[in-house]
């Protein structure tokens, strides 16, 4: 995973609420067995309109997306994060995100920034004409007009994003603790340890 310190540039003033993962990447794009090339299917239904924001001269390739409440709701498909990345989006700003989507975004090095609706409204205005900057270290979103919004982020996620750390590798290093848990639970809840191993 690549380290992410700041994301700056034009922000797509999308603004829609309850954007579900079927909107981000429709199910028929899920038949891939790789992570690449999903940008072509990103927001497919919206982009069938030739005047859509995503393909406009002004916003095509923008690194930031501004959305409404509950962004990424619906299915657990990580393809939604891969599709955004393939479009060039590395940060999404919204008043709230679905739990699964924000986890998937994080694991792919996409920063999800939660800001109150008033801040979103202001950024939507700015984004029409000017760039937006997100600095992860200081946890701020700024504009050329001296706007400055601070956001919260889980310290572990921040650490991983800043350093481009691979979560699987980090957890594999905790192998002894996992083995100790397995030993303990084998005594307390032995039936849970069986899985498919002892099926009839």
């Amino acid at each position: 995973m690549e380290a992410l310190r700041e994301v700056s540039g034009r922000a797509i003033p999308f603004g829609r609420k309850n954007v579900d993962t079927d909107v981000i990447i429709p199910a028929h794009w899920l038949k891939t067995i790789t992570r690449d090339g999903l940008g072509r299917g990103a927001f497919e239904a919206l982009r069938s309109d030739p005047d859509n924001l995503f393909d406009s001269a002004e916003f095509k390739g923008s690194p930031i997306l501004i959305a409404g409440d509950n962004f990424g709701c619906g299915s657990s498909r990580e393809h939604a994060a891969w599709a955004l990345l393939d479009l060039g989006i590395t940060a999404v700003i919204a008043p709230s995100f679905s739990d699964i989507f924000s986890g998937n975004a994080f694991k792919n090095g996409i920063l999800t920034v939660v800001l109150p609706q008033e801040a979103i409204d202001r950024l939507m205005d700015v984004a029409q004409t000017d760039p937006v900057s997100i600095d992860l270290e200081s946890q701020t979103v700024t504009t050329p007009f001296q706007d400055r919004f601070t956001f919260e982020i889980d310290p572990f996620r921040k650490h991983c994003l800043l350093n481009g750390l691979d979560e699987v590798g980090l957890t594999l290093a905790r192998g002894e603790a996992i083995a100790a848990y397995e030993n303990k639970s084998k005594g307390e809840t032995p039936w849970l340890a069986h899985g498919t191993g002892e099926a009839a």
Binding site: K31, T34, A45, N70, V168, I178, G195, T196
Partner: protein, 476 residues
């Protein structure tokens, strides 16, 4: 561990902590992992690329479901019938190759146990009360109906679970959704959960794990409870839970992977101890009166757009929130309906009975009870029943339900996810309407341009018979 009264969720969480980090996140042990063909190929590929292995192959079960055609899979000579869509075939082939390569048990497309992962897990006794269960599929919440902490994960997390049998998680807030009283006639578990979606809206459960309680929930069968928990994600909750009780134990007992002998008794004692303690508090409590719940149907493109079947299509201006007004306008436009229309005047051309929400034997019985001796209306072009698993199909055939469906003009199909998300050939044509027992009415969910109305199995059957969205109570 602690003397503080705890909720069911907190007890399961505490029992699965491998270690807690300074920042408040915990490494949580995962007892059961289900994989299907759509969200796993990139995870297996990542393991291969990094030279990693699966820590506990015996705790993962692989079942193809999303892409499989629901037409015959073997020809007269028992040979596999090739899958027409090359991409579907490729994804299915990847699972068939990956599972054995990593030592994981695969229930294949020709096995009678094959079905939708969320039907197969409980049916095989692989999903157990008090267990942590994950799958790369948001409807994993389903297994919470057994009292398991079950939730959907993305592909990176699938890889994480395969490699480490754990997930790094932050504890969720707790919410109790209590449904007091008795359900009225014609009101099923699906109507209850649709009603809850309307009350909580699509994001009301975000950040929470919901425990469904109250007499109306207790009175439900296990299959009904699986239906409720299945749709926890549709009000934003990552997981839903229903405390295990004697009904749960009776359901689990004797299933292939369920505990046996002395372990069974120990398991029941442990499961019983998981119930929320008296005096434990939830971060939020929502109380619903069962008497307020009617047979329900969705009118828009979010599961929160739900109304009693006796209602009329709402005017966008009737919503307070301006962004909801806008969303409602777009929904009505997509759905091709007008404010003020009676829901029972909306004609349907398609009926789908199936999905991890409503494809178990009781769902098929409920639909068949309405269809018995009746036929689908002439304007209903396509009506299909897709059982949740081969075993459900077998049971239904033993009870003669397949005859009732066929006589009513339905097609009787092989198990899989089917028209719930239209990844296989089962799609609703653009501009047409479907009364569907599935869980999502999103734009394009059942095929590009398809218009979905979510309903219970009995209501889907009523819609098939009348050719319109219909109140099943009027067909009794």
């Amino acid at each position: 561990m602690t003397s503080k009264p705890r909720t069911l969720y907190e007890k399961i969480w505490d029992a699965h902590i491998v270690e807690t980090r300074d920042d408040g996140t915990s490494l949580i042990y995962i007892d059961r992992h289900l994989v299907h063909e759509v969200t796993s190929p990139q995870a297996f590929e990542a393991l291969r690329v990094s030279g990693r292995t699966v820590r506990r192959p015996d705790l993962t079960l692989a079942v193809p479901d999303h892409n499989l055609p629901t037409t015959a899979r073997r020809d007269g000579a028992g040979q596999p019938i090739p899958i027409a869509d090359p991409e579907s075939a490729q994804q299915l082939a990847a699972l068939t190759r990956n599972a054995p390569e990593f030592g994981i048990r695969l229930i294949g497309d020709a096995d009678v146990e094959q079905g939708i992962v969320h039907v197969v897990g409980p049916e095989q006794g692989f999903s157990l009360p008090g267990a942590t269960i994950v799958c790369g599929d948001s409807h994993t919440a389903c297994h919470g109906g057994l009292g398991a902490l079950a939730f959907g994960i993305g592909t990176s997390e699938v890889e994480h679970v395969l490699a480490t049998q754990t997930l790094l998680l932050k504890q969720s807030k707790t919410m109790e959704v209590r449904v007091d009283g008795q359900l009225g006639p014609g009101v099923s578990a699906k109507d209850v959960v649709l009603h809850i979606c309307g009350v909580l809206r699509a994001s009301g459960g975000t950040g929470y794990v919901i425990e469904y309680t109250g007499s109306a929930i207790r009175d439900l069968s296990i299959e009904g409870r699986l239906t409720i928990s299945n749709m926890a994600i549709e009000h934003g909750a990552r997981a839903g839970l229903i405390a295990p009780d004697d009904k749960t134990f009776a359901y689990v007992k004797g299933r292939p992977y369920a505990p046996k002998g002395a372990e069974w008794d120990a398991a029941v004692a442990w499961w019983t101890s998981l119930a929320t303690d008296p005096g434990a508090t939830y971060d939020k409590v929502v109380v619903i009166n069962a008497a307020d719940i009617a047979p329900s149907v969705t009118w828009g493109t979010s599961p929160e757009d739900v109304l009693p079947i006796t209602g009329v299509v709402p005017a966008p201006e009737s919503f307070e929130d301006p962004s909801k007004q806008d969303a409602a306008r777009k929904s009505l436009d997509y759905m091709g309906i007008e404010p003020g229309m009676r829901l029972t005047d909306i004609e349907v051309q398609n009926v789908f009975i199936g999905s991890c929400t409503n494809s178990r034997i009781e769902d098929l019985r409920a639909a068949a009870a309405v269809l018995k001796g009746r036929k689908k209306a002439a304007n209903v072009r396509w009506a299909i029943v897709v059982p949740g698993s081969g075993l459900v199909k077998q049971q239904a055939e033993a009870e003669g339900l397949d005859r009732i469906f066929l006589d009513a003009g339905f097609e009787w199909r092989e198990p899989g996810c089917s028209a719930c998300l239209a990844m296989n050939p089962d799609k609703v044509p653009a501009g047409e309407r479907c009364a569907s027992t599935s869980n999502r009415n999103f734009v394009g969910r059942q095929g590009p341009g398809a218009r979905t109305h979510l309903v219970s199995p009995a209501m889907a059957a009523a819609a098939a018979v009348t050719g319109k969205l219909a109140d099943v109570r009027t067909l009794a």
